[in-house]
């Protein structure tokens, strides 16, 4: 960690040490305050999750404490939601990480072709996921969709895309990959370009085989970047709403009823505020736990990397 010593200027000495102590708080607190403002809804949401609160039954609104959570735990559909959300997250993060790393490696060298491609590849990221899903829905339309047409040319007739339980997960993961892999790519590309030259030059001089270099030198040094990319992607995928809702609203059947899709339906279609709040609180708890694990590892790795300097 970059050790910092606060150099006291003459002026600071005059103003006194307390100002210096307060300074970092003063700098970071506005950000904190703004976000604390969002904390109030958070507390309110917790309160809702402890109530039986359905807008269509206004007279039966009451505190049932953990009733909603118990009801969720007893509901097989809820556990299905957990499984599907985790599955979706694992698939998207896994695929995008591998693909993103591969592309970053391909683009590592700086030349005009690679630079041009790096910029062009950000294009999918700029398309809103909800609109991307719409776009893919058009392309996979069995009648006039170009992708269905191309796939049929390759011999696969009537590929069901989002309409079949077997291919629905594949389809939404595909759209997610298309939209978000560029995010991972630029992050990892930045990492690759920022790596110091010495270890690689030394390895080349020593005649170390490329695979060894990759797995024993490149990857470990890239780990902080990989963790950052995975963290952000994991958070987004656990909370995925736009893509899945636009494509299938959670269907077919119960194939894609991930957390936020289900919570949205509960809140806005079924007006069951209490149950929806309970769902998102559970989601928040899961993401919190996963993120804590990630960040602890991230900090450890950074400390180790900087210590090695």
């Amino acid at each position: 960690m970059a050790d910092v010593e606060i150099a006291m200027s003459a002026g600071a000495k005059r103003r006194g040490i307390s100002f210096q102590r307060a300074l970092p708080y003063l700098l970071s607190l506005p950000a904190l305050l703004v976000c604390i403002g969002i904390l109030i809804p958070f507390v309110t949401a917790i309160i809702y999750s402890l109530q039986r609160y359905n807008l269509a039954f206004p007279d039966s609104r009451a505190f049932i404490w953990f009733g909603n959570f118990v009801s969720l735990a007893k509901d097989p559909a809820f556990w299905h939601t957990v499984v599907v959300s985790l599955e979706y997250t694992a698939l998207t993060v896994g695929v995008e990480l591998l693909l993103g790393l591969g592309i970053a490696l391909l683009l590592e060298k700086r030349n005009w072709v690679n630079d041009a491609i790096s910029v062009l590849l950000i294009l999918p990221l700029m398309v809103a996921p909800a609109i991307a899903a719409l776009m893919w829905k058009l392309m996979t339309n069995p009648n006039f969709g170009v992708l269905s047409y191309l796939v049929s040319l390759a011999g696969v007739q009537d590929f069901k895309w989002g309409s079949s339980p077997d291919s629905a997960m594949f389809t939404v993961v595909l759209v997610d990959t298309w939209v978000y892999t560029p995010f991972i790519t630029i992050l990892l590309l930045a990492g690759l370009r920022a790596l110091p030259k010495q270890p690689f030059e030394a390895a080349e001089l020593d005649g170390v085989p490329r695979t060894f270099v990759f797995f024993r030198i490149t990857l470990p040094m890239l780990t902080p970047y990989i963790l950052t990319a995975s963290l952000f992607r994991m958070l987004d995928s656990m909370q995925q709403f736009d893509i899945i809702y636009s494509m299938t609203q959670g269907g077919p059947g119960d194939t894609l009823t991930v957390f936020q899709v289900q919570a949205y339906l509960e809140a806005f279609s079924f007006s069951n505020i209490g149950r929806s709040a309970a769902l998102v609180i559970v989601l928040w708890a899961i993401t919190y736990a996963l993120s804590t694990v990630f960040i602890k590892n991230w900090l450890k790795l950074r400390a180790r990397a900087h210590g090695a300097t």
Partner: protein
């Protein structure tokens, strides 16, 4: 064929596949935006068609011709809303987040890591968690249907991202230059403003661009917390699916238009992009 040439060919081939996968849909949508509905709905799809700019004309002029007559179109307003909201959200996050990132990077203070983690944890909040209560009392605090209210809620998306990336970049910059500057008698503020921030420009640009993209792509906040006046393009694009038929060509054109502002911004900041995302790099 030499090993080097083979490797280059494979590399080129793989790159080509990658580019095709990511750019083909954009290309197809671009094509669709110049077609009429009848052409688009042809089975099977074909590359030959008579191009028309009627879809773009409809969007920009604010009127569309359909089988039920001339209908108004509000897409340009949606574009403006998206641009305005995203830009303001990023600006606010930069003003709040860069000094905070500087604080976390330069000062070791008690609660430092805790505050940093708390700020990052706002990213974990599922939008619906925030929206359930906000939909009920955003009215009461007078922020419903205001740009200010939306920009504030957008901080959930933009602030943690900017904080996380810029902090890493600040930590990457050696504090020696700033020490020297301070010893010359300048205040911490001048040191931050004149030395650290310019040095961190790549990181700030990259973070700003990413934050802009994520803010631009958000859908649900504006839908719930605002009237028609503040709706961004993500909601506006859906307006071309009406009971009397879907205007595919117009949807495609709206998609193309929606990408342009972000693309312009990306081109402007692209030289900083890759450099700016290097976080806490190991110095050699």
């Amino acid at each position: 064929m030499s090993k080097g040439l083979l490797r280059r060919v494979i590399r080129g081939g793989l790159l080509l596949v990658v580019v095709l996968f990511f750019l083909f849909p954009m290309f197809w949508v671009l094509l669709m935006s110049f077609q009429t509905n009848q052409d688009i709905l042809r089975t099977p799809p074909s590359l030959t068609f008579t191009p028309t700019i009627s879809n773009y004309v409809a969007l920009i002029s604010g009127e569309i011709q359909t089988s039920v007559g001339t209908l108004p179109v509000y897409y340009m307003k949606n574009l403006w809303n998206s641009a305005f909201l995203s830009a303001c959200a990023v600006a606010m996050s930069l003003v709040l987040g860069v000094p905070a990132a500087y604080a976390f990077a330069r000062f070791k203070f008690r609660l430092g890591e805790d505050i940093a983690f708390t700020l990052l944890s706002f990213r974990f909040a599922p939008p619906i968690l925030v929206l359930l209560p906000l939909q009920l009392y955003f009215q009461d605090i007078g922020l419903y249907d205001t740009y200010l209210g939306l920009v504030w809620v957008y901080q959930l998306i933009t602030l943690p991202l900017i904080l996380w990336i810029v902090r890493g970049y600040f930590e990457d910059i050696s504090p020696d230059i700033e020490h020297a500057y301070r010893l010359d008698g300048h205040s911490w503020f001048r040191s931050m403003w004149k030395i650290a921030i310019p040095l961190a420009r790549p990181g700030i640009a990259a973070a700003g661009l990413l934050a802009f993209i994520f803010a631009w792509n958000s859908f649900i906040f504006a839908l719930v917390l605002g009237s028609s006046d503040v709706q961004p393009v993500t909601v506006g694009s859906l307006a071309f699916m009406t009971a009397s038929g879907i205007q595919y060509g117009t949807i495609a054109a709206s998609l193309v238009l929606s990408v342009i502002p972000t693309l312009v911004l990306a081109l402007y900041t692209q030289r900083y992009l890759v450099e700016g995302l290097s976080l806490g790099a190991v110095k050699g």
